[in-house]
């Protein structure tokens, strides 16, 4: 296993590589088609290099543990707005999640619906491409349209376009208060309708989820104490009539469970992550035979556990959206594409981009299909 300690060393290793490389951060998110090759880990590229709380920006080496980033931010009353999920429980992995891994997988949690995905908080990247060139794009300021936005392209590219060495992120102040409105015993249709109504209100909802097991629906509000109380009341008079309230740590714990998809941690079979139009969620669940599911993003993000031999994409194709096979046996991941197959024209573009960024095809080859 290669564990370079600085960017130049990493670039040298990539440039000198004789064959395929398996790019890893902390190795907690083993998602994608199995990749053969020498492991190259960025976990020794560590450290927060710049943090300006007054500008809401943080720059860190890719291998910096996520928990170190979060601790540095918490010390200033700030956080990563996009609330990255911890995959370890769901995937049964160990190790230490790195900030580079979070970016490479574009990991976003419940607050995605309010503040955007990881990619929306990402201001700049440095990375080593497949030819061993050190490249940069974006920067550390919040508004930047100078040249093409390769920052977005690198987020969620799973180490197939380059090996991230440094990331710049926009961060957010931790609000004074949070509260969650909770309902139980709802059908998915009832829940999604209520979540849509709450999200379509002026009350700045920062989380809207449904857990099928208890028929539990959740709506989160964050902000100043008085403001949260006011908005809770407004929603209780409208979209969330009769819902109970969880505040503070109780609220936070509910959202940790949603974020990390705890409801499916012990599920058997394949775990899929679907991105759909929110109001399509009930129909999708029905077509899938009402499996155990966690619906986040107001219904737009669906996590389900289904038998490994179920052709989920065939069922989804009638509805629209896309599906990623997050967890399945290696055997299944070898013959079922993990990432959604793209239409021919887009597949050609993706292929073309990979050929430019990684002309020798050595960075996580085949991982994304």
């Amino acid at each position: 296993m290669m564990t370079p300690t600085n960017e130049a060393e990493l670039a040298g290793l990539v440039a000198g590589a004789k064959g395929a490389l398996r790019i890893q951060g902390g190795g907690t998110r083993d998602i994608g088609a199995p990749v053969e090759g020498d492991v190259l880990r960025t976990s020794d590229l560590g450290g927060v290099t710049l943090y300006e709380p007054g500008a809401l920006t943080l720059v860190a080496q890719a291998g910096t543990p996520l928990r170190d980033v979060e601790a540095a931010l918490a010390a200033e009353g700030q956080r990563l707005a996009f609330e990255p999920m911890d995959h370890r429980g769901l995937l049964g992995t160990n190790g230490t999640s790195t900030i580079g891994g979070v970016v490479a997988a574009n990991v976003s949690g419940p607050r995605r619906i309010q503040v955007g995905a990881c990619r929306d908080s990402l201001l700049g990247v440095r990375f080593v491409d497949g030819a061993g060139r050190v490249l940069k794009n974006g920067g550390r300021v919040m508004k930047n349209v100078t040249g093409y936005d390769l920052v977005k392209l690198m987020a969620g590219s799973w180490g197939t376009l380059g090996v991230l060495t440094e990331v710049s992120l926009k961060v957010q102040a931790i609000p004074e208060a949070e509260a969650t409105l909770v309902a139980e015993g709802l059908t998915s249709a009832e829940a999604i309708a209520a979540l849509s109504a709450a999200l379509g209100s002026p009350y700045d909802v920062s989380g809207a989820a449904y857990v099928s097991k208890e028929g539990k629906a959740l709506v989160r509000l964050e902000g100043l104490h008085s403001s949260v109380q006011y908005r809770v009341k407004q929603l209780q008079d409208g979209a969330c009539a009769g819902w109970s309230i969880a505040e503070g740590v109780k609220s936070a714990s509910l959202w940790h469970d949603v974020r990390d998809v705890r409801a499916l941690a012990d599920a058997v079979g394949a775990i899929w992550r679907l991105s759909v139009k929110p109001t399509d969620a009930p129909a999708v669940l029905e077509k899938l035979g009402e499996p155990d599911a966690v619906c986040d993003w107001g219904g737009g993000l669906i996590w389900v556990a289904v038998p490994e031999d179920l052709d989920l994409r065939a069922i989804l194709s009638a509805v629209g959206g896309h599906a990623t096979l997050v967890k399945a046996s290696e055997d299944v991941r070898r013959h079922v594409p993990v990432f959604p197959p793209e239409p021919a024209a887009l597949a050609a573009i993706s292929r073309g981009l990979r050929a430019k960024f990684d002309p020798r095809g050595i960075l996580n080859p085949g991982k994304m299909g």
């Binding site: 300006e52 709380p53 007054g54 500008a55 809401l56 574009n106 995605r112 995905a117 990619r119 929306d120 060139r133 490249l135 940069k136 794009n137 920067g139 550390r140 300021v141 919040m142 508004k143 930047n144 349209v145 100078t146 040249g147 093409y148 936005d149 390769l150 920052v151 977005k152 392209l153 987020a155 590219s157 957010q172 102040a173 609000p175 379509g200 002026p202 700045d204 100043l224 008085s226 403001s227 991105s275 139009k277 929110p278 109001t279 993003w297 737009g300 993000l301 959206g321 896309h322 599906a323 990623t324 990432f339 793209e342 239409p343 024209a345 887009l346 573009i349 981009l353 430019k356 960024f357």
Partner: protein, 479 residues
């Protein structure tokens, strides 16, 4: 500003190219008359002009596809154009290019409040997108100053921002999907009513690619319910440093205003003379706006005012009515017009880390003396996006060049302190040659390699974004 020499072979084939375009388009969709094409000789960067070979004005995605097929077969450069409001020359043509204007494509295709999106043809203006959902209480958040005129197509091309993006983000954060026509005429769908890409984030790279990767004809945009209300507060300070520190403290406090706008003394004086908004005569002025119900606004402003008071403001003006709010915004909204009354001006768009504000303003002041040109600063302070307005006299020989050199120095300064050349206007032709100050050759090379993939013949808006020297080999090979 240098542009590549037009391809004489294309100029010689004008009649044939125009005839082929007419063949595939309805009547009145092609303009080739030398007088009429003049209307398309420039965008809002009016210092540079060149009429195009022809102008095509389609009404459907299919027609866009047909136009591009013809131009692809003929090897003719295509310059996509929204409403022509680019300040960077993004829609400026060359004599051998066809302008593909989407202004006639302005339909709303779908509105979905349950899923909070609207799908529109991209010729639709920014403000009329909000207009289409306003009665139902919704709005489209990105609000460039030109929102009355600018088209969504151009917003996507430049990844436009606006005063309220501190809270709501810029175009790329509010764009969910596009229908795009590739240079060879192929129509592709990327994204849609669902969130995030399943594979590589192609939508992310298309947004902000300045019309160089494809022609976006339809867009799915995120819409939000309007807040219950909004209210600004005005603060005056006797130094830029103190105002900058106040911005930083507000941001750190955990309250997220929707906008924090900054004006410096030259700009305050100019707008006072022009609009008479009743601004205090001070060194630096902030307008901070928050949203919510009345009580929520009160609670936020109470904290913001407490922070401001710690910095000994020379003025703190709260608004108690819609009319007073409008007056607070009046000067800021008239700033460009006010500067324009004094002289011609060039509007810059660099972004800096907020902490560098005092240093950068001081340095701009020094440069202003060195160049002998006045400058006023308007600034989206919350996110560090500066708009220095340099005054010059377009009729005075050499003044434009001097102004451009001054502007280039300011933008280099932005890069030097950790910022960038352009925060929301785009590179276009205006900042093309400064790209080498922000990016190393290999950083530009990988960006151009992206264009190679989408547009291998380099026909889409080819003379933009990259320094002509850097892109020359590719543009030549394509001919």
């Amino acid at each position: 500003m240098q542009m590549p020499d037009p391809d004489r072979a294309i100029l010689a084939r004008k009649d044939r190219i125009v005839a082929r375009l007419r063949q595939v388009l309805p009547e009145h969709a092609v303009i080739s008359d030398e007088v009429e094409t003049r209307a398309y000789e420039c965008d809002a960067l009016t210092a540079y002009r060149c009429p195009p070979l022809a102008v095509a004005l389609p009404t459907t995605t299919q027609e866009v596809s047909e136009i591009l097929k013809v131009c692809h077969a003929e090897g003719v450069p295509v310059v996509p154009r929204g409403a022509g409001t680019s300040l960077a020359g993004g829609a400026m043509p060359t004599a051998d290019s066809v302008i593909l204007g989407v202004a006639r494509m302005n339909d709303v295709l779908e509105t979905d409040y349950d899923n909070r999106f609207i799908r529109v043809q991209t010729g639709r203006t920014n403000l009329s997108v909000s207009g289409a959902v306003e009665e139902d209480g919704f709005f489209y958040a990105p609000d460039p100053s030109s929102q009355l005129a600018c088209a969504i197509a151009g917003n996507i091309a430049m990844n436009s921002g606006g005063a309220h993006c501190l809270k709501y983000g810029v175009t790329t954060n509010n764009l969910m999907g596009v229908t795009m026509v590739m240079m060879d005429g192929e129509i592709v769908e990327i994204g849609g009513a669902h969130l995030d890409a399943g594979g590589l984030d192609l939508l992310g790279v298309i947004c902000g690619s300045e019309g160089q990767l494809g022609v976006v004809t339809e867009a799915t945009l995120r819409i939000l319910h309007k807040p219950e209300g909004a209210r600004p507060v005005l603060m005056g300070f006797d130094s830029n440093e103190v105002a900058g520190q106040c911005v930083s403290d507000i941001i750190k406090s955990g309250i997220l205003p929707v906008a924090i706008e900054f004006m410096d003394r030259p700009c305050i004086r100019a707008t006072e003379a022009f609009a008479g908004a009743g601004y205090p005569d001070c060194e630096a002025l902030l307008i901070v706006e928050v949203e919510g119900s009345d009580a929520e606004i009160d609670a936020q402003l109470e904290r913001i005012l407490a922070i401001a008071r710690r910095h000994n403001p020379v003025e703190l003006r709260e608004s108690t009515s819609a009319e007073e709010s409008a007056r607070i915004w009046l000067g800021r909204k008239s700033a460009f017009g006010a500067m324009g009354q004094i002289n011609d001006y060039m509007c810059l768009d660099g972004t800096i880390p907020v902490s560098q504000l005092p240093h950068v303003l001081r340095r701009i002041g020094e440069l202003s003396k060195e160049y002998g040109l006045d400058v006023g600063n308007v600034f989206h302070a919350g996110d560090g996006n500066m708009h220095p307005l340099i005054l010059f006299d377009a009729n005075k020989p050499g003044d434009l060049e001097k102004c451009e050199a001054f502007g280039a120095d300011i933008l280099r300064l932005c890069v030097e302190v950790g910022g960038c050349l352009t925060g929301e206007h785009g590179v276009g032709i205006e900042k093309r040659d400064l790209m080498v100050d922000q990016y190393a050759p290999e950083d530009l090379e990988i960006q151009m390699a992206v264009k190679d993939v989408f547009d291998p013949k380099w026909l889409l808006n080819p003379a933009k974004v990259f320094p002509l020297r850097s892109s020359e080999a590719r543009r030549m090979a394509a001919e």
